[in-house]
């Protein structure tokens, strides 16, 4: 079930608690859903997370309509988008262009590795940090050594 994680643990990248949310975009629904679970475990359950994983027919790929739908769930608190590769990023950029300037202004696409970026962003968002701080935490993942 390609969109299951969204229905079972979060319906939106915003939940009214004022925390910046995450939007996770991947070619694989399993990657997006599994990463959302991992972020919730490390960052706690309060950070709103929405996923858009997989292609329109449940296969590997990207679904621009689903990405747009996910971005439209973001409220005034804002959200940081993390995407895996290539067309995931293109889908996000295309979806951002469909939004009104007001909607697009509360979303930042992070230039970060997906797993590490989402963990860093999620933990930072859980502390009540601003959208810019959450995005910066995600992008810091490019320089932090793992070993």
């Amino acid at each position: 079930m390609a969109f299951g994680i969204v229905e079972c643990r979060a319906v939106a990248a915003s939940n009214g608690n004022g925390l910046v949310g995450l939007v996770i975009v991947s070619h694989s629904a399993a990657i997006a859903g599994g990463l959302a679970e991992l972020v919730a475990q490390v960052a706690g359950p309060d950070v709103p997370i929405v996923t858009a994983g997989g292609g329109p027919d449940g296969t590997l790929g990207t679904d621009g309509g689903r990405v747009l739908e996910a971005l439209r769930t973001v409220d005034e608190a804002g959200a940081v988008v993390l995407a895996d590769l290539g067309s995931s990023l293109l889908s996000v950029k295309a979806a951002l262009a469909e939004l009104s300037p007001g909607e697009a202004g509360r979303i930042v696409l992070a230039d970060a590795p997906l797993v590490e970026g989402a963990i860093a962003a999620g933990v930072t968002a859980s502390t009540g940090a601003s959208m810019a701080e959450v995005a910066a935490a995600a992008e810091e993942a490019r320089r932090v050594s793992k070993l």
Binding site: V42, A43, T124, A129, V144, K146
Partner: protein, 89 residues
């Protein structure tokens, strides 16, 4: 109020490594303080407010961490974080 610098040692429980979930709890607690906080272990140092840097310490159960902080709430920060480390389960 003058800023202070504080340093304390804290040992991870023998059976608890500073892996993803405990590290998340630690970083979220650290973020509540205004102080600049650093953790040293295994010859590495990490910003206590960066989950990826804390995970990068690779601190296994039983590792002794040096927690240092500077800023107005440095004393509370090191005390609370040391207590959190010692109490992880």
């Amino acid at each position: 109020m003058s800023a202070s610098s504080e340093l304390t040692l804290a040992r991870l429980p023998a059976t608890v490594a500073l892996h993803a979930r405990p590290a998340g709890a630690f970083v979220r607690a650290a973020a509540a303080f205004a102080a600049t906080i650093e953790v040293q272990a295994n010859g590495r140092r990490a910003n206590a407010k960066s989950i990826l840097e804390i995970l990068g310490l690779g601190a296994d159960g039983g590792t002794e961490l040096t927690i240092s902080a500077s800023g107005e709430d440095a004393a509370e920060a090191v005390a609370q974080l040391a207590s959190l480390i010692a109490g992880l389960s």
